[in-house]
Symmetry: C2
Subunit: 222 residues, 2 copies
């Protein structure tokens, strides 16, 4: 599959590397066509990897992943272009975290809206699926760094798009199918992004980011 990745940070590069290793063609997109980090990444990964602008990567991918910093995602996606994203599945991995006032960061949008919904509204002809934003990048591409069963949440308005993304999660990233929870439509992104407020504090408490939640569910009360 052709996969476009927007963002050349640790998340975009790690996902891009993993998808290329798994046999996909991956283009890493950035603000400029000659991003040094993207070029170095493509050279290191080899023949299945390429790089270009946000618009190049969005046009290249049959699935596109938003791995930009959440505070800049809407700008980056505007550069990618609605036309390049039309009809496609866009996986929103970003969290709208503002680190400008130091730690802990705050969410730029919270509770009454979410970045996932903002993106879906800005790109109504694109199928936005929110997932992976609830875990650290090392856990995204290698769920086995966290012991036992642990869960990944997916949401979005389009069932087929969610199913296609779930196949990537299971077949390429190594998530167990039974640990992928479809929470509902894109409005559920509010809960998934607000989890970051707890995640960040748990990260400080545990001293590293190799952790995740596992949901334990009892019987429905009579």
């Amino acid at each position: 599959m052709k996969i476009g990745i927007l963002g050349t940070g640790s998340v975009g590069r790690a996902l891009g590397t993993k998808f290329a290793e798994r046999g996909h063609q991956v283009m890493l997109g950035s603000r400029t066509a000659d991003n040094e980090r993207a070029r170095a990444w493509a050279k290191a990964v080899g023949r299945r990897a390429s790089h270009g602008t946000f618009a190049d990567a969005a046009g290249f991918g049959s699935i596109v992943l938003n791995c930009t910093a959440g505070v800049t995602s809407l700008d980056a996606l505007a550069l990618a272009g609605a036309e390049q994203l039309r009809g496609k599945t866009l996986v929103d991995v970003a969290n709208p975290l503002d680190f400008s006032r130091g730690m802990p960061p705050t969410l730029t949008v919270c509770d009454t809206d979410s970045l996932g919904e903002q993106i879906q509204r800005a790109f109504p002809d694109t199928k936005v699926v929110k997932t992976l934003n609830t875990v650290n990048v090392a856990v995204m591409v290698n769920p086995g760094v966290v012991p036992g069963d642990h869960d990944l949440i997916v949401c979005g308005n389009d069932a087929d798009a969610k199913a296609a993304v779930t196949e990537l999660l299971v077949h390429d990233l190594g998530w167990k199918r039974e640990n992928v929870i479809d929470l509902g439509d894109i409005r559920m992104a509010r809960g998934m992004e607000m989890w970051l407020a707890l995640w960040i504090r748990l990260f400080v408490r545990f001293g590293h980011p190799h952790f995740n939640l596992h949901l334990r569910v009892g019987k429905k009360p009579a």
Copy 2:
């Protein structure tokens, strides 16, 4: 131990009943001294149970639990009185959820502050410990309704107060000690309250409230 409980809703009554069953003396406090629900509760529970005003219950307890609706907690605690709460441990079980615009509720305070912190600031001579707010009342008083290991988070500024509250959680409510996570000082309440945004959506997804999170923690990366 003498336990004062502020609030006569399902949370206050269930916790009060459980603590009385475990041999504690429990007074349920409400806005008025002649609250019908509190009287009926005390009669049903028996000799270890009594009821009174918020101030009566706060004065009665050596530990006091805030089980009022989060949007009214600061008002209720003002009625309870700083003098009655001075030097005591106050367990804040409440979530600042506003249901006035329907489902899902939103948080009245979020991300840059929390109800737990607001209470600690309003009552500087009281040791506020936030806990139990992350699970449904049925799970609070009977963790076994959720299968396997699952976790409860505690935060607060006073280590001794957290230790005393943890003893109640373990000995009286039945939580496993290894499943009680001390997240840090009262500022951690932000993350614990924001978890509710995800909790509410999981509640809708699962169709019932008998669930909880279990944190899986891997090794610290080298």
